[in-house]
Amino acid sequence: MTDKEIYQIWAPYGKKWTDWVRPVPFVGLREHSSKYRFSNLNVPVVALEEKEREGAAVIVDLPGVESVKVGIALAEIGFRPVPVYNGTIEQQGARATVDNQAVGVGLIWGASALSAIEIGEDAPPAFLLDTNRLNRFKMEDALFDNSWDIYPQDLPSAEYLMKSGIYRIVIISSRLSRDLAKILYGFQKKGIRICITDGYESPRNIKIRRPIKKD
């Protein structure tokens, strides 16, 4: 499969939510991910009861390939996985703060898995994020900082979500990341409920405090 074909499996043209799939990790995907080998690429079980999925969109915020695996698990229970990874590749020869290429292996593997799953036209979205994006600490000035944040413009607006019948966001992560908190605070203000689960326990409602303005 070519990079374009892999992208098209994740983002079939004209299907709901696929416009938000970021092309960034798919461009040069085969080349960048060729040096990776993962043996444990299997689909985990996601503990999300049917009633917990009602009117919900999911944001998976897990490290690297784990987020892709959970995305496939969510596809199996009726969600449309939407990769919104947006990290760039470091300059050749430089050490970087984040390994943004690792999700690529997951995307290639996930494309095969995904092509065997029939996703409904009205499937709600499950946005996939790599928690490692926030590894911003530079031991030395010389390192290449390819950490990245998710911004409001990378996701649909609260209005669009609500118009599409989404009134709840379930975050699958060990904690609420600060960049997501900024976006979800805005959603919360517009009336969308926010819940979080580590993937094992039932999602619990959270109230996000107004984020501090300064970045």
């Binding site: 098209q8 990290g87 050749q92 010389a142 290449f144 900082d145 413009q153 649909p156 607006s157």
Partner: protein, 408 residues
């Protein structure tokens, strides 16, 4: 000027190729598709007029920045951020011949039948790939070989190659955390690599300056640099700690753009025109095309003026009321009141929309580049709103050949 639709059956492949082969990595912004379903076609006459104006504007701008740099007292009304102002004296050694000067002038068709210029992107204009590869992709989809385009990338690469020794080391300075910045740099980097240059992608703080020469400190890529292509805006540079960025202002390493760009980058640039004209600088083309611009306080009680931030980018925080999102207008006005020197007042012009195929109307911002003073191509965006901002869609610009018109 008109819009021609990309055939519906071709749009999917068009979009896919733009993302994968033409560095368009940000095809969606919030709920908006940023790849237009049209191409923008301008007539030969429009192209000739725009290209002539662009070169004249550029000549005036470069003359103005030289005078401002030689007599910085004149720059007072620009009210540049303090951190930047402090460094301006370093630019005493600025030699225009030692650098590559790139600018983009934003034109808008008006309801009065003419054109208005809204600003010059003097510091770090973007849209490189959209102005270079997108038109060819559109031509293929439209099966339209009678329309032509200017490949901006070829012109910029040639200008860089004219200044940098063969195989030279060039750092493409950008915010390495932003893929939107990287897509611009990656396009240029790949084009420079093809010409045999050693390309290094790095951040502004990956350059240290020794004896006015730029050196890369990026891990595994250390050493002297032959050129700096900067996509990090100057006002962001000044936020970097520790302060190593002052060397950008007096480096003799080939720079594109050199920080001298700041004089025209601020949207308050027109506020020094009277003084510049007294010094003999001709600004006739600017006067003709840019709507009347005033200090905020001088616009009080005057009808038909809007407020723009001096350091605004991509149409942000411009007080066009009907184009603002909920609460935005009040927020802008509050900030204008609090920081009037960070804004300017400008007579509003009314953009003449172009018709889409289903009766929808689109406003156009047609960016026209110069490289080393010569016209170098177009980058355009369209939107249904009067304000061309981040919600706008990129659209390729094609040019009619003499007397030819395809009315399909």
């Amino acid at each position: 000027m008109r819009l021609i639709p990309i055939p519906r059956e071709e749009y999917e492949a068009y979009r896919l190729n733009l993302m994968f082969d033409c560095y368009k990595w940000d095809p969606q912004f919030l709920d908006h598709n940023t790849i237009a379903k049209y191409a923008l076609v301008i007539t030969k006459e429009e192209h000739e007029q725009l290209s002539e104006w662009t070169e004249k504007l550029d000549e005036e701008t470069r003359a103005a920045e030289l005078v401002l740099n030689g007599d910085r007292k004149l720059a007072g009304p620009l009210a540049l951020p303090k951190k930047l102002s402090k460094e301006l004296q370093r630019m005493d050694n600025y030699d225009p011949g030692g650098h590559v000067r790139l600018m983009r002038y934003d034109f808008h068709p008006t309801t009065e039948g003419g054109w208005a210029v809204s600003e010059v992107n003097s510091d770090v204009p973007g849209g490189f790939a959209e102005a270079s590869l997108m038109p060819e992709e559109a031509r293929i989809r439209l099966k339209e070989s009678s329309l032509w385009y200017i490949n901006f990338g070829d012109i910029l690469v040639k200008a860089i190659a004219d200044k940098v020794p063969e195989g030279g080391r060039i750092m493409l300075v950008h915010c390495t955390s932003y893929s939107d910045d990287r897509q611009v740099m990656q396009f240029l980097g790949d084009a420079l690599k093809e010409k045999g240059f050693h390309v290094i992608y790095g951040a502004a703080d990956h350059i240290h300056f020794r004896e006015k020469q730029a050196h890369s400190i990026l891990d595994g890529n250390e050493g002297k640099l032959d050129a700096i292509i900067r996509f990090t805006p100057l006002e962001w540079l000044t936020e970097i700690r520790p302060k190593k960025w002052d060397g950008y202002f007096d480096t003799t390493t080939v720079s594109c753009n050199h920080p001298v760009a700041i004089y025209a980058q601020t949207k308050r640039f027109p506020l020094v025109w009277d003084a510049l004209e007294q010094k003999g600088v001709c600004l006739d083309t600017w006067r003709k095309l840019l709507p009347d611009t005033l200090e905020v306080k001088d616009a009080k009680g005057k009808e038909g003026y809007i407020y723009k931030p001096a350091c605004g980018r991509v149409g942000e925080n411009i007080s066009i009321k009907e184009a603002c999102w909920e609460g935005e207008y009040d927020k802008i006005m509050k900030d204008v009141k609090r920081h009037p020197k960070k804004y300017l007042a400008q007579k509003r012009f009314y953009s003449r929309p172009l018709a889409g195929q289903d009766g929808e109307q689109y406003h156009v911002c047609l960016g026209s580049y110069t490289v080393q003073g010569k016209h170098a191509g177009y980058y355009a965006r369209i939107t249904e709103s009067q304000r061309i901002d981040s919600n706008a869609a990129d659209i390729p610009v094609l040019i009619e050949r003499s007397g030819e018109r395809d009315d399909r």
